[in-house]
C-alpha cells in the first residue's frame, strides 16, 4: 500500500478535467434552466398579479356599472309608471269628456226631438182647432173661418199704429217689387180687392200686388214688402193669447203672495 505518484498526478488532472466537463455539461445548463424557470415563474406571477389587479379593477367597474344600471332601470321604471299613470288619467279624462259630450248631444237630441214633437203636436192641434172652429162657425153663423181671419186682418190694418204705417210707406217707396200677400188658403177676388183697397189707402197710392198660397203658413195672412212684414196668424194670435194668460196668472199669483 503505497502512493503511486504518477496515478496521483493523473487523477489530479482527471479530476480537473471532470470539474470542467461537469461545469460545462451539468451545472451551467441545470442552473441556467432553474434560473430561466424562476424568471419565467416570477414573470407569470407578476403577470398574474397584474391580471388579478385588472380583474379587481374590472370587478369594481362592473359592480359600479351594475349599480348604475340598477339605478337607471329603477328610474326608468318609475318614469314609465308615472307616464302610464299620466296617460291613464289623460285617457280617462278624454273618455269622460267624450262621454259627457255624448250625453249632452244625446240630451240635446232628445230635447230637439221633444221640441219637434211638441211643435208638431201644436201644429196638429191648431189645425184641428181651426178645422173645428171653421166648421162650428160655418154651421152656426154661416161664416167661413178664412173670411173671418181676413176680416180680422183688415181690422188690424185699419187700426195700425202711425209708426208702423210710416214704416210700411217707407218700405213701399224704397221698393221696386210688388206687395206680396201670402195666405194658407186661396183668396177669392173680393177678398183680394178688399185687401188691395185697404193697403192702397194706407200707402196713398195704387200698388201692385202678388197673392200667393204658402204651405208654411198653417193659417192666417202675411203682407211683406221690401223686408217689412205685417201679418195675422192663428199661431201668433194663440202665442199672444198664451202670453196674456201667463201674465194674468203671474199677476194673480203675485197678488196672492203679497196678500199672504
Amino acid at each position: 500500500m503505497q502512493i503511486d505518484w504518477f496515478t496521483v498526478i493523473a487523477q489530479i488532472i482527471n479530476f480537473f478535467i471532470l470539474v470542467w466537463l461537469l461545469k460545462r455539461y451539468l451545472y451551467q445548463p441545470i442552473l441556467g434552466a432553474i434560473d430561466a424557470r424562476e424568471k419565467k415563474i416570477n414573470g407569470q406571477i407578476q403577470d398574474a398579479e397584474g391580471k388579478r389587479e385588472d380583474a379587481q379593477r374590472e370587478k369594481a367597474l362592473y359592480i359600479e356599472k351594475n349599480k348604475l344600471f340598477d339605478e337607471q332601470k329603477q328610474q326608468h321604471l318609475n318614469d314609465l309608471l308615472d307616464e302610464i299613470k299620466a296617460e291613464r288619467k289623460k285617457r280617462l279624462d278624454a273618455v269622460a269628456g267624450e262621454a259627457e259630450m255624448l250625453r249632452a248631444e244625446h240630451k240635446h237630441a232628445l230635447l230637439t226631438k221633444q221640441n219637434d214633437m211638441l211643435k208638431e203636436i201644436a201644429q196638429k192641434t191648431q189645425r184641428e182647432v181651426l178645422q173645428i172652429s171653421r166648421k162650428t162657425l160655418k154651421d152656426l153663423a154661416t161664416v167661413s173661418l178664412d173670411e173671418q181671419m181676413i176680416a180680422v186682418f183688415l181690422k188690424k190694418l185699419r187700426t195700425v199704429q202711425p209708426e208702423e204705417k210710416l214704416q210700411l210707406i217707407q218700405a213701399y217707396q224704397s221698393a221696386a217689387n210688388p206687395v206680396r200677400v201670402q195666405t194658407a188658403f186661396n183668396l177669392d177676388s173680393d177678398l183680394q180687392n178688399e185687401i188691395k183697397s185697404e193697403v192702397d189707402k194706407i200707402l196713398g197710392a195704387s200698388a201692385e200686388y202678388l197673392f200667393r198660397v204658402s204651405s208654411q203658413l198653417t193659417n192666417g195672412i202675411e203682407l211683406s214688402l221690401n223686408g217689412y212684414k205685417f201679418s195675422w196668424t192663428v199661431s201668433a194670435y194663440l202665442d199672444e193669447l198664451q202670453q196674456e194668460v201667463s201674465e194674468t196668472i203671474k199677476q194673480t199669483s203675485d197678488a196672492v203672495a203679497q196678500q199672504k
Binding site: 500500500m1 470539474v19 451545472y27 442552473l31 430561466a36 424557470r37
Partner: protein
Amino acid sequence: MKLSPDETILWELGFVHLNLTIVTTWALMFVMVAGAALITRNLKSDIRISRWQCVLEIIVTGINSQIKEVGLDRPEKYISFIGTLFLFIAVANVSIILPWYHPPTGSLSTTTALAICVFMAVPFYGIGSEGFINYLKSYYQPTFIMLPFNLISEVSRTLALAIRLFGNMMSGGMVVAILITITPLIFPVIMNALGLLTGIVQAYIFSILATVYIAAAVKKPSITDK
C-alpha cells in the same frame, strides 16, 4: 490479494503506466459526463420537465443548498469544484454493486490526489476572495505564534482527508473480500449494502469538509462588515 487497484497495471511505458484506477476513473468520467450531456441536451424551463432533468435539478440544488448552509453565500461559484468532488466520490463508491468493480476511491493515490486538489482549492478560493496578502495574514490569526500550527493543520487535514476516504473504502472492499471467503452466501450482500451507505456518507463527509475548509478561508462579507 491486491489491496489497491493501482497494483493492477494494464499498460506500462517507463514512468508512464495505465493502472485499473486510472482506467476506472476514465470510465466513470465518461459515464458521468455522457449522462449529464444527454440529459441536459433537451432541458426545459417550463413547469413540466423530464424525470431525469428533475433528478439532476434535485442533485444540483441539493449540493447548492448544502454549500450555502455551510456558509458560502454564492454557491454557484463553488459548486463546480465541491459538486464534482461529491459526485465523483459518490458515483465511484456506489458503483461497488457492479461485479468485478474496484472503486478508484479505494486507491490511496486517488484519495491523495483529491486531498491535494482540496489543499490547492483552499488557497485558490481564499486568495480569490480576500486577496493574496490578506489570505497569508490569516495564518497569523489570532497571533503569529499560531503560524506553525496553522501550517501543520493545513497539511494534517489534507492527510486526514486522504486517509479517511481511502481507509473506509479500502476496508469496505477488504471486509467484503474476506467475508466472501468465509461466508459467501448472505453476509457479502449485507456488507455490500452497508458499503453503499458508507460510500455515500464518505462522499458527503469529504465534500462537506472541503466546503468547510474553503469557507474558513473565504471570509463572509457580512461578518467583515460587522
